[in-house]
Subunit: 392 residues, 2 copies
Amino acid sequence: MSSVATFKQDPHRLLVIPGPIEVADDVLYANAHPSMSHVSAEFVPVLGDCIRMTREVLLTATGQPFLIAGSGTLVLQVASNLVEPDEDVLVLNTGYFGDSFAECLQTYGAKVDHITAEVGGVVSQADIESALKSKKYKIVTFTHVDTSTGVLSDAKSIAETVKKVSPETLTVLDGVCSVASEEIRMDDWGIDVVLTASQKGLGTPPGLSILVASQKAIKVYESRKVPPNSYYASWKKWLPVMQAYEKGSPAYFATPPVNLIYAYHASLTRITKGSPNLTERLKLHKLASQKIKAAAKGLGLRQVPLDDNFAANGMSAFYFPEGVTGPDVLPRLFKKDVIVAAGLHKAMKEKYFRVGFEHMGISVVDERRGDIDKVIASIKEAIGEAIESKKV
Amino acid sequence: MSSVATFKQDPHRLLVIPGPIEVADDVLYANAHPSMSHVSAEFVPVLGDCIRMTREVLLTATGQPFLIAGSGTLVLQVASNLVEPDEDVLVLNTGYFGDSFAECLQTYGAKVDHITAEVGGVVSQADIESALKSKKYKIVTFTHVDTSTGVLSDAKSIAETVKKVSPETLTVLDGVCSVASEEIRMDDWGIDVVLTASQKGLGTPPGLSILVASQKAIKVYESRKVPPNSYYASWKKWLPVMQAYEKGSPAYFATPPVNLIYAYHASLTRITKGSPNLTERLKLHKLASQKIKAAAKGLGLRQVPLDDNFAANGMSAFYFPEGVTGPDVLPRLFKKDVIVAAGLHKAMKEKYFRVGFEHMGISVVDERRGDIDKVIASIKEAIGEAIESKKV
């Protein structure tokens, strides 16, 4: 038999895309847990703990987590339970994932208005305020970190503005690319819903979608006039299941992704009970981010975010130098065993690349690994080689 | 570093519930694969192979697989793409999962008629024929093996009847509890859609929902009058992604469950390329099933299926002897390190239990493990002890 003490994952290239990210050996080992019954006395508290630790990561005392097998994209649908047909929604759009969220909400009948930021920018509080004054919105959504641009929105100020101008409106934070790599104080800031997925800052393989709803959001859901028009993603189905597991008894609507729950448990344990603690981890993140951004600046690479104040700490997006494109640089990085991500934003897909280094347990927290230095050195070399090759 | 040759899962109790089932060491090891980019040149063919091998398992040349992160319950929603609001659906109901499928279809606007079999029975071909004559149904659904009762429906005859009486109607087989443990000849029998999940006969951890649509079903979907009223489960979103990966290029709608895809690949490789081959595996399954059922008969345990001809080969459901219930037997089996499942059918939840032994790679195919004998001996002892305890 193997054991967590002896298990070491296979050698592989360093994965620094904005998710999936590098996963620690003990988390991968948990993903290889022997098959367990989803209703067994051994498994029930594991899922119960995951519910409790998810709350800890988001600094909420009474938020209700939903842990559902599916990709991050599913969680947009899980959030749609809050909106009934023909209700108005305001999307603060900072890139690709604002479009996705809007399309999802429209599928369920919402009437969506966008405030679209310029590429690399954020939506201003004044624009949010005037939109909220012009119409009664059921929810306001924003992408905390848009994976397509690396733009970080100011969650605290957005929630404040919503509360001030339209206190009944719910603030929904798409944290797929920010939870556990950016500060989120759900209760203090009055965020009503946070949605995320397992494979980014939470350091777990992909396949688990995660939503946390405040009690206010649960009440709004419970006062729906028509039943949810979604089956698998219905809060009606999942709420009793989550409540039962947290209390220590099983309930059934769908078979949970048992192995992935063990893996999520291992990663959450690192994040909430390990050293460094959550606050320190966020700090280390910021430092690693500053290091990469400074190095890129030194290379003359321009960031996609227009201002350092709204650049994410869990990922970066940089434009290539003039005359150089993805096919010049990415294969060169690959040869150096470093995997970064191509562009995704439709306005300039070919012109930039993305680096994610969100794993708090490995690339950022464990400095001995030297991941950040390797990434910086490799980018420097690859860009240099690419420019050189153009001169020939 | 660990390797597939040395990796052995932790010792654990023998899990013989109807899913999740025992998973082989190499499949669990694949689930602990280092993080990989979902759009990388290494990963794309792995997902492509999974699409091709899924076809092989269902004996279809041109069926279109959809592999989507989610529980088995999600796949009911994936199937709902075929039905538009107010269209008629006929559900052949043999238990719990017929009710679930109906509820899911209704969520998306279908008008559902049921033909409900008596507990332990199947719907007669005559009843199906007369229902099809009375009304034009868009689809007919049936649960191939109802996990709540162990009843096996006659897929071939159902498809024949549909084709004869109402050739435009699509036949949809819910194979969550039958794929890779019961014979399914999708093309030969003319089954239009097969839906399933990873954690039963396919021998993979839970978290992947799998649907295969015939080209006829794809055409019916493409001729929808209104767009699909589901976001994450929309064929419109997934069809280009599946086609791209099969051709060898990545596409993005949602991050696939990368590790689970590696695990599914390992299990499909065993099933489609390993020895014994698929036909032999189904035969071994039948033999194991007969052995357990004969042993239970010897103990005086009555099967839930009313007739041997419609008892599943991948699981069994037995009533407890008079005066004995789950709490008398299941903890005793647990002490013998054997995990069976409690009842699920609302009509008689407390009166029966379920045994799954669907893993073709381990419990059934590898006789050296002695799993089947251990299960039989343990049931015999536990039932004996339970009866004895009641006498005191």
